[in-house]
Subunit: 105 residues, 2 copies
């Protein structure tokens, strides 16, 4: 299992606009091989930004990398530059491989 | 749904020891109300540290907060200070609430 997170620092006051961008967006993920889950998540707020992350779970890192090279990926990111005014700096990508885990009983 | 992540910066060369601490640890989470998933995940390596995170999924932020005040939480963290030599700085906590999401088809 592999978790891909892209961290976004959003200007105070732009949170609602940023969430609307994602709500209106077609991520084209549903039929991608190895895709398991997507969430847009909201983290802590600071004086100069609110942290958000796109949080996706994949069967493997290979499945994620294959997606980044696909037409579905290009389609999902076609308009990604349109909303730069909402951001403080660039998104920051972090990929995580699962070392160990458990689930609730 | 709520995602709680604690980020750990681990000294180069100490990765295996850090993973062993978690493998040997009883997190006492299985029977906690609202607990859904736990993973220890390994992120990118840098010159001065490797990023790890404990990644837990909860039914709600309230369920997570209730756990942090419980005896199970105290039991899970009783020996948390024993391995400080492995760390670069303090763990950094980030909690995320889910804004929107989808799952694979």
């Amino acid at each position: 299992m592999y978790i891909a997170m892209n961290r976004f620092k959003i200007m105070p006051g732009s949170e609602e606009a940023f969430e609307k961008v994602w709500a209106d967006r077609d991520t084209h993920l549903d039929q991608v091989p190895g895709f398991k889950e997507f969430q847009l998540v909201r983290g802590p707020s600071h004086d100069d930004y609110t942290l958000y992350a796109s949080h996706t779970v994949w069967a493997s890192e290979d499945a994620f990398v294959a997606w980044t090279k696909s037409e579905a990926f290009r389609a999902a990111h076609r308009n990604a530059g349109d909303n730069k005014v909402l951001y403080l700096g660039h998104p920051e990508f972090e990929g995580f491989t699962v070392v160990l885990g458990s689930t609730g009983g």
